[in-house]
Symmetry: C2
Subunit: 873 residues, 2 copies
C-alpha cells in the first residue's frame, strides 16, 4: 500500500483498501452462495430457472470482468467519443443558428450587426456566468491543472461531477459563440473528469477502483483520450498529452492511452459516418496534396523560415497572453469594476472581437464570415490562390471565396487575418470560460504558412524543380507546416506534427513539418515558457521548472549547495513542549524524526497534522475535562471532610457565579491582573506537583494563563465556544474565588503536561522518507524529484540528518526566482489524498493565529526560551 | 555526483569528474591566455595576425559550443545517416552482384544454383567468422542488450570501437546475402555505439562528456536515431525505441530523440536525392492508395481478423525462435559439432534457405527471386492482383510478376511465401551474425495482409460500399495493416503503426492499422513475451518482467510477503571476523550497515568490494610484512643480545634454507604436521599477545595455518606467487626451524587481527540506500524498481532494518520462475560503472575459490563458528 515508505499519509487509503478487500471477500462469498443456489436451481429444470441461471452467470461474469483495465478504457473511450460528438454537434448547431440569423437579416445592416454581435455576447456571458456559479474550477484550459495533478498535487474540487457539467456546457456555449477559442485543453480536463467519475462509479462494483495509484494511471490515459477524441488523432493525442502533462511517463500508461484514444477516435468518427456526415472514416481536415512530389528540396529553407518565425510568434503569443492577464490584475480600478460585474469583462471582450469580425465591416478584409473550422479547411486547400502576385479568380464556389476581396489583395487579407486573430486569440483565451488556445493558434499558424506558401507560389510560378517536369508549389503544404510549427511553439511540443498528419490524413510533408516544429520549439523554448507553464505560474500552482538543454552548470551544483541546513526535527525522547515549539516555527508539511539531538540519526518523518493531533490529545479538551473532574472530585471529597456540604440551592448559585466569572474572565483576561487566591494554593497542592515551586513567577504565570486559553482553543472546533462550556461540569465547586485557583491549577497541569515525554505509539510515522546525500548533483536531484513527484527530501550522511531540500530550494536553484506557497504537494507518485488533510492545513493556520494572538496579548517581555528552541536553532 | 546516496559506487566517477573539472579549469585558463595573446596580436595589425585572430576566435567558439547537446545530437544524426546510407548502398551492390551472377549464368541451371547458393553462404560465413573473431558482442539484434543497458546493467565490451566495426561490416555482409534478416535491431546497437564513441571522442574537448548520466540520456536518444535513420521514420523511430527499451521515459529524452532522429532521417533521405535515386524526399516505400475513400466501415472486421491472426502469428514466431535456439543448445551432439566448427551452423542454415528460394526451383512458387525490399514494394502495390479468384494478367512489367506463376494461383504463392518465410526468418535470426528480425516479420505481415486483401477483393469484386459509387477494395491497404500488426505482435509495440505510416507516406489507413495493431498486441502479449524479452531471457540478462494489464492481485501483494527477512548485515562495532564471515555467506552486492544488532537502525550500505578491501587491508601483505619485519627486528635484537651474530656467509646460507623450507612448506602444508618449535614460543611471546593461551588447540592451529595461507593469497595478484617472495625479507632469521614458529606467530597475529574492531573511516558507505516499508504493494515496488533501476531495496520499520527485497524476489513474485545469476546490476539510474568494479567481482570469486580450497584442505572437522555467524543467521 505504501510507496517506499509514505506510511503516514496513506493510512486513510489503506483503511479504504482494507474495506474494499472485506467488501470483495463478502462479494466472493455471496458469489459462492449464488453458485450454490445455482446448483440447487439446476435440479429444478423449469424454463424460468434456466433464465435465472443465465442471469446469475452473466452477473457473475460481469462482476469478475468489470475490474479489468480494458473495460474501463473502452468505457472511457466510448463516453468521451459521445461527449465529443455531442459537443461538436451542439457547437455546429449554434454556429448555424448564428449564420441563419445573420443571413436572414440581410436587408438591414444594423440589425445584422446586432444579431452578429448579440448572439456571441449572450452565449459567452451565459457560459461565464454558468461556470462561475456552478464550478469556477471549470474555467480555462485544464491542461495546466492536469499537469499539476499528475505531478502529484491535490487540487480540490477539480474532478467533481459539478465541474464536469459546468465544463461541458460552458465549453459548448463558448465555442458556439464563434469566438477564437479551442476545445482541446478543456477536452483533456473533461476526459480526466470522466475518468475520475467513472472510477468512482466503477468502484461500486469492484474493489480495484479504490486503488489510488491506479486512478492516477487512468488519469494519464484519460488525458490522451481527451486530445485523441477531440481531433480524431489517437497517436498525436497520446504524444501531445504526454509532452504537455508529464516529465516522466510509464510506457505502461502509453499503451493504455493508445488503446483508449484509438477506441475513442474510432467511435467519434464512426458517429460521423452513422450521422451521414461522412461516407467513411477519414481525417477531420482531409487534404489532397499530390503524393509523388510533395515538395522540392529547395523549398526547405522556406519551411525553416516558417519554423523560426513561428517560434518567435509562439513566444510572443504566450507573452501577450500573460501580459493581458497581468494587466487586468494590476489595474486595480479596472479590476474592481470587472470583479463587481464578473460578467462584464467577457461581454466586453466578445463585443470587441465580434464587432471587428463583422463581415460587412472590417470582417470583409479578414474572412470574418468563416468559422474557425471553415477557415482551417480553406487554408489547407491544395489549390493556389494567387499567381504572380495577382489574386486568381476562384473558379469554384466554396468558402475560399471569403479570402478574396474585390479591392484587396489576398496577401493583405491573410496578413490582416493573422494580425487580428493573433491578439484576438490571446485576448479571448483570458475570458473566464472553459476554453483552450490550441485551435486558434493552429488556425493562425495555418494562415501564416499559407501566406508564405502563396508568396512562394507567386515568386516561383512554375515551381523550383529544374529538370523536366513542372511541379508547382503547393501553398496548402506550407499551411500544414505553419499550423504545426506555431501550435508546437506555443505549447512547446513536437507532437503537433503528428496531430497535423492525423488531422489532414496526409503524412507526405513529414520532414518539412518536423524540421519546422523542431526549429519553432528551439526558438520558443529559449524565449518563453510554454503557454501551459505560463498559466501554471500565473495561477501560482506548484511546479518544477524543466532543466533546459545543455545547462552544463546543472551537473556541477550539488545538493549541499542548495540544501537548508537548519532542519526542524523532533527527537524520539522529546517532550510536548518541543513539539509545540517546532510546530510554530517550521513551514514544511512533514517533520524529521531523529533518534536524539546528539546522534541525529534519521528515523523517519511525521506529518504536521499527526503532531498537532498528538499535541491536542495530550492537552485537549477531554483530558482537561478529565483532570478538572478529577480535581473536582478530590476537592469535593476533601471539602466534604473539612466542611459541611452546602445546600442544593447554594451550590447552584455558586455555579451561576462561576459561569459569570469565567465569561468575564475570558473576555478580560490580562496577565497584569492580580491573583488574589494565591495563599489558598499550597493547601490544595497535590502530591504530583509537589516538586514544582509554589511561587510562580509572573511571566510564567502569564504564559500559563495564555497557554491555557490557547490550548482550550487549540482545537479549531472549540475555538468559538465559551470557556464556561468547558468548566460547567464543575457543579460542585464551592465558591467562585476557587475557580481562578482552578485556572492556575490547570495552567500548572498543562505546563506539567507539556514537559511530559511524547508517546509516539499511536503516531503514524513514515519510516523511510526520501534521502539524498550531500554530493547528489542538481541534475540528479531534479530527475528524482520529477520521477517520484517529491515535495522534499532529507539529506543524510551515514544515517545522520544534515539538511533538507524541498521543491522550493530546487526551483530557486534552477531559476532563482518565484516562490509559491500554500499549495499542498502530494507524496511521491501516490494517490489522491484523503479529504482529511485539507482540514489539517486549516489546523495549522489556526495554530498560527492563536500563536499571534498569544504574542499580542502577552507583555512585551521575552518569552522564556525552552531548551527545544535552542536545539532547533 | 551521487544519486540519492549511491555514494560508494560512484567514487570512481567522481574522481573522473573532478579530473574533468580541473581540465576544464585549465582549458579556461588556456583560453584566457589565448585571449590575452589575442589582445597582443591585435596591436600587430598584419594580415597574418588577423588570420590568426580569426582562427583563435573560431577555436574558442568551437570549444565553447562543443559541449552543447544539440551539437552532439546533430553529429550523431549525421554520422548515423551516413552509416545507414553507406550500409544500404553496400547491401544494394551485394544484392545486385548476386542477381548479376545469377542472371549471367542462365545457360546452365546447375551453375546458376551454385552461384545462387554459394554467394550467400560465403557472405554469411564471412560475417559470422569476422564477428566471432573481432567482437562476439556484435552478434544478434542489439535491442535486448540496449534495453538491459538502459535498465542500468553494465554489459562489458558492448560499446567499443571493435564492436562497432564488427557490427557494421558483419551486418552489411549478412544483409547483402539476401537472407531474411533485418537491419533495424543492429542499427539501434550501431547508433548506441556511435553515441558512446562520439561521447568519448567529444570528451577530449569538453568536460561535460564525462558526465555519465548524460551519456545514458544520449544513449536513449541514440536508440531513436538508430530506428529513425534505418526507416527514415523519425517519429516511429522515437516511439519504437521508447517502447522497446524503456519502462519509464523522460520527456526530455524524447525531445532529444526527435531532434536527432529527424535530422538523421532528413540527411538519410537527402543523400538519396543527391545520389539521384529519388527526385525529392519521399517515403521509403511510397504507396499510392486513393485518399477520398481509403476503406469502408464494413471492411473493419477483416482488419480486426488480420490483427488477431497476427497476434497469434507473432506469438508463434517468438516461440519458434526460442524453440530453435533451445533445441540447438540442448542437443549436445549437434552442439558439440557446431561449436567445433563455429561457422558450420550459419553455412548450413544459409544453404538450406537459399536452396529453397532458388528461383527456378521451389523459389518460383514463393517469389524467391525478389529481394526483401522488392517483395515489400510489390506487396504494398495499390493494384489488385486477383479478381474473383483468378489471377489477373499483370499488364505492366514490374516485380509483381514474380508473384504470378503460370500453373499456380496467386493465393497459393502468397500462402507458400508466408509459411516458408515464417520458419526461414525464425531460423535465420538464430544465426550468429549481426541481424534483426523486424524487417522479415514486417514482410511476412505484409504478405499475410495482402492475402486477406486479395481474398476480400475476390469476394467483393465491386467493393462493399452500397450506395452509389463503386469503391473497389485495396489489397495494398490490407498489406499495410498486416505488416504493422505482425511486427507489432512480435515486438509488443504499437508504434509499428507509426512506422508504417512513415514508411508508406500515407496515413489514410490509420484507424484499421491502429485497431489491428492493438488487437495483435493484446493477443501476443497474453501468449508470449516480446521477441526482445525472449532473447533477454535466453541470454540470461537481468530483467524485470512487466506487470500485465489488470493483474489485480498485484495490488494486494505487499513487500512483507516477498521480502527476505534474513538480511546479511554488519554492525558499526563489528570485528573483522564478522566481516569475513558475512562476506562468505551473502550473495548480494552490497551489505547493510546497522548501528547495532540490538537496535538494527539502518545507517547505510557498503559494497562487498569495499569490505573485501577493508579485510585485505587489515590482513593483507603489507601489514603482514610489516609485522614480520617487526618481529624479525625484535628477534634480531633479542638474538644479538642472547647470542653472537652469525657470519655474513652463514646468514646467507640460512636465508637459502629458509627459502627452500618455505617452498616445500607451501606445497606440502598439512594441518596434521607436528609443530616442533612450540617450546620456543613462550620465550618469543610479545606483550600484546600475552593474554592468549600458549597452548593452541589443534583445530584452531589448523585454522590459523590455513587462514594464514588463505590470507597470504587473499589478494588475487599475490595468489600465484610463492610464499618465499613474501618471506624473503627475513634475511636475518637465524634458522629454518624458526620459520614455522613464525608461521604460528602469524596465525596468531591474524586471529588477533580478526578480532579487532573494524575501522570504517576509509570505507565508502552509501549513506542512504533505498528503503521500502512492509506494506508497500508489489505494484508500487515494481514501479520504483523500474523507475530507479534498482537492484535491491531495504525494508525498514521506523529506521530498523527488517528485510531486503532484490530484483530476484520481485521477479519471483511477479512470475514465480527463472533466476538469473552472475550479472551485475548497476546502481539506480546511474551511469556506467568505472572499470574497477569488474575486478572486484573477480576478487569475490577468488575469495570463494580460496574458501573452497580451504575447506577441501582442512580436516573434515567442523569450522568453529564465530559469534558473527550466529548473528547473521
Amino acid at each position: 500500500r505504501v510507496m517506499y515508505g509514505r506510511y503516514t499519509q496513506d493510512l486513510g487509503v489503506y483503511a479504504k483498501e482494507e474495506a474494499a478487500r472485506l467488501r470483495e471477500g463478502s462479494q466472493r462469498r455471496s458469489v459462492s452462495e449464488r453458485s450454490r443456489t445455482l446448483d440447487l436451481l439446476e435440479y429444478d429444470k423449469g424454463r424460468c430457472a434456466k433464465c435465472r441461471i443465465c442471469t446469475v452467470r452473466c452477473q457473475k461474469f460481469l462482476i469478475s470482468r468489470v475490474g479489468e483495465d480494458w473495460i474501463f478504457l473502452i468505457l472511457l473511450g466510448l463516453l468521451m467519443a459521445l461527449v465529443s460528438w455531442v459537443v461538436d454537434f451542439c457547437i455546429a448547431i449554434c454556429l448555424q443558428a448564428q449564420k441563419w440569423m445573420y443571413g436572414g437579416l440581410d436587408s438591414n445592416v444594423f440589425l445584422q450587426y446586432l444579431a452578429w454581435v448579440t448572439y456571441p455576447v449572450v452565449l459567452i456571458t451565459f457560459s461565464a456566468g454558468f461556470t462561475q456559479i456552478l464550478a469556477p474550477q471549470a474555467v480555462g484550459s485544464g491542461i495546466p491543472e492536469m499537469k499539476t495533478i499528475l505531478r502529484g498535487v491535490v487540487l480540490k474540487e477539480y474532478l467533481t461531477f459539478k465541474t464536469f457539467v459546468a465544463k461541458v456546457i460552458g465549453l459548448t456555449c463558448a465555442l458556439g459563440s464563434g469566438m477564437p477559442l479551442g476545445k482541446e485543453g478543456p477536452f483533456v480536463h473533461i476526459a480526466s473528469l470522466c475518468a475520475a467519475l467513472l472510477s468512482k462509479f466503477m468502484s461500486l462494483f469492484g474493489g480495484i477502483y479504490e486503488n489510488e495509484s491506479r486512478n492516477i494511471e487512468m488519469l494519464a490515459a484519460a488525458c490522451a483520450v481527451g486530445v485523441g477524441c477531440c481531433f480524431a488523432a489517437p497517436i498525436g493525442g497520446v504524444l501531445f498529452s504526454i509532452e504537455v502533462t508529464s516529465t516522466f511517463f510509464a510506457v505502461r500508461n502509453y499503451w493504455r492511452g493508445f488503446f483508449a484514444a484509438t477506441f475513442s477516435a474510432f467511435i467519434f468518427r464512426v458517429l460521423a459516418v452513422w450521422n451521414r456526415d461522412e461516407e467513411t472514416i477519414t481525417a477531420l481536415f482531409k487534404t489532397r496534396f499530390r503524393l509523388d512530389f510533395p515538395f522540392d528540396l529547395q523549398e526547405l529553407p522556406a519551411f525553416a523560415v516558417i519554423g523560426i518565425a513561428s517560434g518567435f510568434g509562439g513566444a510572443l503569443f504566450v507573452y501577450l497572453n500573460r501580459l493581458i492577464v497581468q494587466f487586468i490584475r494590476k489595474q486595480k480600478a479596472i479590476n474592481k469594476f470587472l470583479m463587481k460585474k464578473r460578467l462584464l469583462y467577457p461581454a466586453l471582450v466578445t463585443l470587441l472581437v465580434s464587432t471587428l469580425t463583422f463581415p460587412p465591416g472590417f470582417g470583409q478584409f479578414m474572412a470574418g464570415r468563416l468559422t474557425q473550422k471553415e477557415s482551417l479547411v480553406t487554408l489547407l486547400d491544395n489549390r493556389t490562390w494567387a499567381k504572380q502576385g495577382i489574386a486568381e479568380e476562384f473558379d469554384y464556389i466554396s468558402h475560399s471565396q471569403a479570402w478574396k476581396h474585390p479591392q484587396v489583395n489576398v496577401f493583405v487579407t491573410l496578413v490582416l487575418f493573422i494580425v487580428m486573430k493573433f491578439w484576438m486569440s490571446a485576448l479571448a483565451t483570458t475570458i473566464p470560460v472553459p476554453c483552450g488556445a490550441f485551435m486558434p493558434v493552429f488556425v493562425i499558424g495555418a494562415a501564416f504558412g499559407r501566406l508564405v506558401g502563396e508568396s512562394m507560389a507567386a515568386w516561383f510560378p512554375d515551381g523550383i524543380h529544374t529538370d523536366g517536369t513542372i511541379y508547382p508549389i503547393v501553398p496548402g503544404g506550407y499551411a500544414v507546416v505553419g499550423a504545426a510549427a506555431l501550435s508546437g511553439a506555443v505549447t512547446h511540443t513536437v507532437s503537433t506534427a503528428v496531430i497535423v498528419f492525423e488531422l489532414t490524413g496526409q503524412i507526405s510533408h513529414i520532414l518539412p513539418v518536423m524540421i519546422a516544429v523542431i526549429l519553432a520549439n528551439a526558438v520558443a523554448q529559449s524565449l518563453q515558457p510554454s503557454l501551459y507553464d505560463s498559466i501554471i505560474r500565473i495561477k501560482k500552482l506548484p511546479y518544477l521548472p524543466e532543466l533546459g538543454w545543455g545547462h552544463h552548470e546543472k551537473y556541477n551544483i550539488r545538493v549541499e549547495d542548495i540544501m537548508v541546513r537548519d532542519v526542524r526535527y523532533i527527537t524520539l525522547n522529546c517532550c510536548y513542549r518541543d513539539l509545540h515549539d517546532v510546530l510554530l516555527t517550521g513551514h514544511l508539511k512533514t517533520l524529521a524524526l531523529v533518534e536524539s539531538a546528539e546522534s541525529m540519526i534519521l528515523l523517519g518523518s511525521i506529518e504536521r497534522a499527526q503532531l498537532q493531533s498528538l499535541l491536542s490529545q495530550q492537552l485537549g479538551r477531554p483530558r482537561r475535562l478529565e483532570y478538572i473532574r478529577e480535581r473536582a472530585a478530590a476537592e469535593k471529597k476533601r471539602l466534604s471532610v473539612v466542611s459541611n456540604p452546602g445546600s442544593e440551592d447554594g451550590s447552584q448559585r455558586a455555579n451561576h457565579e462561576v459561569r459569570f466569572q469565567i465569561s468575564t474572565e475570558e473576555s478580560s483576561f490580562s496577565p497584569t491582573r492580580p491573583v488574589p487566591q494565591k495563599p489558598l494554593k499550597p493547601a490544595l497542592k497535590r502530591p504530583s506537583v509537589v516538586d514544582r515551586p509554589t511561587e510562580i513567577p509572573t511571566s510564567q504565570q502569564d504564559n500559563s494563563g495564555i497557554a491555557l486559553k490557547n490550548l482550550f482553543c487549540a482545537n479549531p472546533e472549540t475555538e468559538g465556544m465559551e470557556v464556561r462550556d468547558v468548566i460547567c461540569p464543575l457543579q460542585s465547586s464551592p465558591s467562585s474565588s476557587l475557580l481562578l485557583f482552578y485556572f492556575l491549577q490547570i495552567a500548572e497541569w498543562e505546563e506539567q503536561q507539556l514537559d511530559e515525554q511524547v508517546n509516539f505509539n499511536n503516531c503514524k510515522i513514515d519510516p523511510a522518507p526520501f534521502q539524498l546525500v550531500e554530493r547528489t548533483s542538481l541534475h540528479k536531484t531534479h530527475t528524482i524529484f520529477s520521477l517520484l513527484g517529491l515535495d522534499h527530501a532529507y539529506v543524510t550522511s551515514i544515517g545522520r540528518l544534515i539538511g533538507v531540500v524541498s521543491l522550493k530550494e530546487l526551483r530557486k536553484a534552477i531559476e532563482g526566482s518565484v516562490t509559491v506557497k500554500g499549495v499542498k504537494v502530494r507524496p511521491p507518485l501516490a494517490s489522491f489524498r484523503d479529504s482529511g488533510t485539507s482540514s489539517s492545513e486549516n489546523e495549522a493556520t489556526e495554530l498560527h493565529k492563536l500563536w499571534d494572538r498569544h504574542k499580542s496579548m502577552s507583555l512585551p517581555r521575552e518569552h522564556v526560551p525552552s531548551d527545544s528552541d535552542e536545539k532547533s536553532q
